[in-house]
Subunit: 203 residues, 2 copies
Amino acid sequence: MTTQNVQTAPRMKAAERRELILEAATAVFGANSYVGTTTDEVARAAGVSQPYVVRLFGTKAKLYIAVIERAYERIISEFSRVLPGPPDERLKRMGAAYAGLLSERGMLPVIANSTALGGDPEIGPVARDGFNGIWRFVRDEAGFSEEETREFMAGGMLINAIVGLRLVGAYGTEKSVTEVLDACFPDAVARVRELMPQVGEPW
Amino acid sequence: MTTQNVQTAPRMKAAERRELILEAATAVFGANSYVGTTTDEVARAAGVSQPYVVRLFGTKAKLYIAVIERAYERIISEFSRVLPGPPDERLKRMGAAYAGLLSERGMLPVIANSTALGGDPEIGPVARDGFNGIWRFVRDEAGFSEEETREFMAGGMLINAIVGLRLVGAYGTEKSVTEVLDACFPDAVARVRELMPQVGEPW
DNA sequence: CTGAGTTGTTATCGAATGATTACTTGGAGA
DNA sequence: TCTCCAAGTAATCATTCGATAACAACTCAG
């Protein structure tokens, strides 16, 4: 007995622990970018030791790859969920679904950051695959026109920028910000407003 | 005489050297992001020693701030340049002008990266100012409608993502990529195609 | 011509970080 | 019950990076 469970994390199957770490890593990578994040921060956020994170994923880059793969899958999954329904409101639903992912910490920032890492030989291909996957889904599965697809993707990138810049802190005080947020996606903006992190928040 | 000019960089007024370093720093920060860039890389790219870079700008963060301020000024300057002319083609000209900045190394990637740093207490405010500045210019100086402004900014963010992902390497082979590039900005895409860095290029 | 301020360097430090090694402990199956 | 694999940790290492300090040489005003 005694079960001196003072220091060590409660036992868990590796797959389950992996998922926990991926969730924590998404939040931390999202807050600090890829290069700006230490494996130790991820480990502490997940409640395990730093060497264990490295051992489970092999390397920091491989961990990050797992994180963005999971994030892109998550987006496709949300889009699929809101696909059924009135076709004329499909774009609004998908925009709101994307903005809704703000509630899952780091999800959108990680996506945004991945679009800047195309030059990395390891991460680049994964990021391109993820981006292309969303693009194809929007066009083929959701049935958007070429023009609609471009606009939808561009709108998503704009949301990423707004989130990354923490622009919502200025909502209401800065006219141009208010403008963009209201115009961005008809239904998305409400979600963005309620979910977006403020300036200086650790998030 | 003798002027043993073996190691030390040729003398230059500090202001001139500052500009040289800013240009080099834009390229390096653009290629590797803020956190991923060392002051030593910047120094070597500029042909001076690392401590001198630090001394000229005080700190790495201040150097980066000078870089993005310069980049945002550069964008405004280009937009101003193409402002005169037929109003119905103003949007096309400005889109092409933005894409044309691809020829100045690191300019667009630096802008893209700055939109992810809103959470930084030092850099965040500068990035927000720059973004808001462009926004206001597009709406007030260029006279775009609210809707046009949003679409223009969103298109710019999409270009940033395409560049960051090195998507152009797949142009012609990947159907969806071809689609977006052609649809993005009528005249911008030609410039993007000829100027965009390929996958794996140091750029 | 000279000397003082500016331009620039070399040497070096302390902290941080990703990774490796060797060790411990819990728990499921024979 | 016993044992062996999986889960997890502590200790530690080699690098890297931003910053500081001390020093050297060019140049221009008087």
